[in-house]
Symmetry: C2
Subunit: 197 residues, 2 copies
């Protein structure tokens, strides 16, 4: 009975605010976004907002959490469909596919200057995915410092590819971007915790 009473009003308000956030992300970007903008767009009272979220940052966190849940489920199901041990860094293709299917949103939000909060939350999410992936393949064969570095390295590489992809003019298909990312990240990853050392 963790969530026994989802009052319709509560659900309505939360969804109104989450929707308003997504739409306003494209128009104004996250940093320039004010709570008042959200209230106007969502048609929600000021006091109501703060009854649900402590800040606009928590609203964003809630939105990213929802995304992570969807991504995770999508990944899991894809892995089960095509045999047990999925590809190494196999989470990346679903991720690129997701970005591609919401290209409009991510292009305007990620490629804007100073959208650090979004980067922060998304990278935190990716970090968890990568760590999960690494632990599946390298069963504690390396010390934790090396794993920390590896996680940071992979996420940084992935993010560099994403920024390049979304910022570029040529429409590269997600499968190809995924291949580029893997060819970029795997050699360095091997040098850290793969075969050698």
């Amino acid at each position: 009975m963790l969530e026994p009473k989802p009052d319709r009003r509560v659900q309505r308000t939360r969804e109104l605010l989450l929707d308003a956030l997504v739409h306003l992300l494209m128009e104004r970007g996250y940093e320039k976004l004010t709570v008042q903008n959200l209230l106007d767009r969502a048609g929600v009272g000021r006091a109501t907002f703060y009854a649900h979220f402590q800040s606009k940052d928590e609203l964003l966190a809630s939105s990213i959490a929802r995304l992570q849940f969807e991504l995770s489920a999508q990944w899991r199901s894809a892995a089960k469909t095509q045999g047990e041990p999925a590809e190494r860094l196999g989470f990346s293709l679903p991720f690129f596919l997701h970005l591609d299917s919401h290209r409009r949103i991510y292009h305007t939000t990620i490629c804007r200057d100073g959208e650090w909060t979004i980067e922060l939350h998304m990278q935190r999410m990716l970090r968890e995915l990568v760590r999960e992936d690494l632990q599946r393949f390298e069963r504690a064969r390396s010390n934790s410092a090396a794993i920390d570095l590896a996680v940071g390295y992979v996420v940084a590489t992935l993010w560099a590819v994403v920024e390049w992809w979304l910022g570029g003019s040529k429409p590269v298909p997600p499968e190809e971007v995924n291949q580029i990312f893997q060819r970029l990240a795997l050699p360095g990853l091997d040098a850290l915790i793969g075969s050698g050392r």
Copy 2:
């Protein structure tokens, strides 16, 4: 005669503000830092501040520009000392040495959550260094899109190593970190614009 009259008062004010910035970076971090804090710390009038800088962001930019100038000179002189064609990605060792010699400052500033502006400025600086380095070794053999990706990749990798280094507990010497960085970045870099393709 680009800078003919460095009035003592002007110089004094600028240095007071730049010093105040550095000290307050360690105490409060950049994001939580207010203009008022700078004024109090530097003992400078509000109007005076805005006579010199449009915002606290411009003050930071000014500080990073000074750093870039010093780094660049340091790199150049090191290259001339030990022969002509410096190492590939040879700018990285001076950079790590610089971070190490100001460890206190960078540890507290870079490892703090949400210090995006500093990251932004420093990565912009690093991007220029990397691009310069790449153009010295790959003389327009690759298309510009690949070079853009390579620059982003190298800077992202470098930054991941820096964050890991400064955030870690064990005191790894800068030369070793530099080696780790190069072993991490060079294979991927080769895959992009090196031998193949």
